[in-house]
């Protein structure tokens, strides 16, 4: 079997707090293939960003990877010396942040920010780097890139800034792009443009991990999705199947909480309560306090992520190879 572009197995990340270790990413496994987009869906605090920052190994000072494996093109990243890891960052994995205003250094020109890592990684010389930067700026749809490259981030409009940041992530042509809520901070009309832009990179073979809480974005852009709750994956499925038939109660709840145009008739059925504080993670299934279907087993024991089966037959992996449907729920596993 050939290697996937990104293969995360049983990744665990802890925060080291005064009160002890706090596990914020707990046994996450996921796979991204070239030219594919994976959505990581979940509410704030569910651990989606930390998961991907663990992959990149750019974690807050208090966070530590506690175990698991991250393979990029078959190469194990968690054990890579920092020196080599740096070559991976920026060069093989690009990252796009939610808010370009914050993720771009306000006091440096775009040129500096787009080209500096090309020289860090020894990819090319200064002139070549500049040429590439201009080209990439053009690619992301910034008019007059030769001129714009000399500007500072704050001199661009919100949409343009977001594009510039994508250019920064893509200028070294990484094979994997991690996009952390890339459209949350932009206007709706810009959102689709940004997504379409990313889709072009995807079409050229870049694997993309899209962190989002917006199911609409996931559906529009991604192929597969994982749903995270309290640091764990609770469901994994091709996006469209997930949205057509969510199986984990949390996924169902998310879906039912989503308001959409034309859905006025649909009764809103929000999930009660709020996501748990990880420091006081409920025993058993972390979702059970908010789950209508919770039973005693849910309160006491945790279910692992299991393939969804109907009478022993794997369900809903229609179409693509490698596409799986899994959920971590007693009720789902028990009743199919």
């Amino acid at each position: 079997m050939t290697n996937s572009l990104l293969e995360v197995r049983d990744l665990r990340t802890d925060f080291l707090l005064k009160s002890g270790r706090l596990r914020v990413v707990d046994g996450v496994s996921l796979t991204v293939e070239p030219g594919q987009a994976l959505a990581i869906v979940g509410e704030s605090g569910s651990g989606k960003s930390i998961t991907m920052r663990s992959v990149m190994r750019v974690l807050p000072k208090t966070a530590r990877i506690a175990g698991g494996s991250v393979r990029l093109d078959g190469r194990e990243l968690t054990e890579l010396p920092e020196r080599q890891m740096r070559q991976v960052r920026g060069r093989q994995i690009g990252m796009v942040f939610q808010n370009a205003m914050e993720a771009l250094n306000p006091t440096l020109t775009l040129e500096r920010q787009l080209t500096e890592h090309l020289s860090w990684h020894g990819i090319c010389g200064k002139a070549e780097a500049r040429r590439r930067a201009i080209e990439t700026l053009g690619d992301v749809g910034i008019p007059e890139p030769e001129k714009r490259i000399r500007t500072y981030p704050f001199q661009l409009s919100g949409g343009m800034r977001q594009r510039a940041m994508i250019a920064m992530a893509m200028v070294a042509r990484p094979s994997l792009l991690i996009a952390d809520e890339p459209t949350t901070a932009v206007d709706v009309t810009v959102q689709r443009q940004i997504l379409d832009l990313l889709a072009e990179f995807k079409a050229r073979g870049t694997g993309i991990v899209m962190i989002t809480h917006d199911l609409g974005v996931a559906r529009y852009f991604c192929d597969d999705a994982v749903v995270m709750y309290a640091g764990r994956i609770v469901e994994r499925a091709p996006v469209r199947e997930l949205l057509a038939r969510p199986s984990h109660p949390y996924s169902t709840g998310l879906f039912r909480s989503t308001i959409e145009v034309g859905g006025r008739d649909r009764a809103l059925a929000p999930i009660p309560g709020a996501p748990p504080d990880l420091a006081q993670r409920p025993p058993g299934c972390a979702f059970h306090p908010r789950c209508e279907r919770a039973e005693s087993v849910c309160r006491e024991n945790e279910q692992m992520l299991l393939p969804l089966t109907v009478n022993g037959v794997s369900r809903g992996t229609s179409g693509r190879p490698g596409a799986v449907r899994e959920a971590a729920c007693w009720k789902v596993a028990a009743h199919g």
Partner: protein, 306 residues
């Protein structure tokens, strides 16, 4: 299609038209003087909301919708034009009288934590408008605050906690409770759910829907989220660069948008259960400097010529 079953006091368009609107803006302009020069935030906006109605105000960032909310609340004076509450020109009242009027209109803000007094407990926050308007004594106010918090679903056990200690959704509930404390007739909600997580957003919306019908509130609901507005509003006004570009009953607007900008907004929606609309093949750009008129294309459906 207006879902009237939930509404305590059904309002028909005809009836609303015959009444005096609760809140009305007439040709309102707002110009800010900033370091960078004059910013024309709101241009010649007229709108009216009748008793029990909900007006949805939609637009992207910079469209002037939040400024409009503050104009309606009398928090900002208009540069020209008038805002009337029950027919009373807000610009003619000031000081204590204006503060008095405020008891009739209340606002829910986008950032619930930011809008709560951080050094007041939940109960104290809710009781504060009562205190300001000298309603009842201290004990009564507290009792009322607890009742209101109960109404919005904040457990009695936590009424003495401080805003910081609540989750975003809870904070927004407290903010709503506070807005309701004075039993206002008009509630202006400025993006009340956009800073909340999906599941919480739905909770708050459900709460607002329920309160609106139970209390018969008149609501101005501001959002950039068309889906939320569609669900919530009787009538929708679309703003772009300070101007109203289209204004219509919700059903008409979503069913048959007339203005290219509205189309563009609708096309930008990424639905969860269906594929998005194709991008309209128009490159409409607003040009507010060339005045154009709002034209009524159908009863209650106005569109700016483009």
């Amino acid at each position: 299609m207006v879902d009237v079953s939930d509404v305590a006091e059904p309002v028909t368009t005809e009836r609303a038209a015959s009444e005096r609107p609760v809140i009305a803006a007439e040709h309102v302009d707002k110009v800010f003087n900033t370091r960078a020069g004059e910013v024309h935030a709101v241009r010649d906006v007229s709108l009216a909301v009748h008793s029990g109605q909900t007006l949805g105000l939609v637009g992207e960032s910079g469209s002037g919708k939040s400024t409009m909310a503050r104009l309606l609340m009398g928090l900002l004076p208009p540069t020209s034009g008038t805002v009337r509450l029950d027919g009373l020109d807000l610009s003619t009242v000031r000081g204590a009288r204006l503060r008095q009027l405020r008891s009739q209109m209340q606002m829910v803000f986008q950032n619930p934590f930011g809008s709560l007094l951080p050094h007041y407990s939940a109960a104290a926050n809710v009781a504060e408008p009562l205190r300001l308007h000298k309603r009842g004594d201290k004990a009564w106010r507290r009792e009322r605050a607890v009742e209101l918090l109960d109404l919005v679903g904040v457990n009695r056990r936590f009424v003495d906690h401080y805003p910081r200690q609540f989750s975003g959704g809870q904070q927004q509930r407290i903010a709503i409770a506070r807005a309701l404390a004075l039993e206002p007739r008009l509630l202006v909600c400025d993006e009340p759910t956009s800073s909340l997580d999906v599941s919480i957003q739905a909770q708050v919306l459900v709460l607002l829907e329920e309160l609106r019908s139970r209390l018969g509130l008149t609501v101005v609901f501001i959002s950039h989220n068309l889906a939320v507005v569609e669900r919530f509003a009787d009538r929708v006004t679309v703003m772009c660069m300070g101007q109203v570009v289209e204004s219509a009953p919700t059903e008409a607007l979503f069913g048959a948008p007339r203005h290219p900008y509205t189309e563009k907004l609708l096309a930008a929606i990424l639905p969860v259960t269906s594929d998005p609309l194709p991008q309209p093949d128009i490159s409409w750009r607003s040009s507010p400097d060339q005045p154009s008129a709002l034209v009524e294309v159908a009863p209650g459906h106005e569109v700016r010529e483009s």
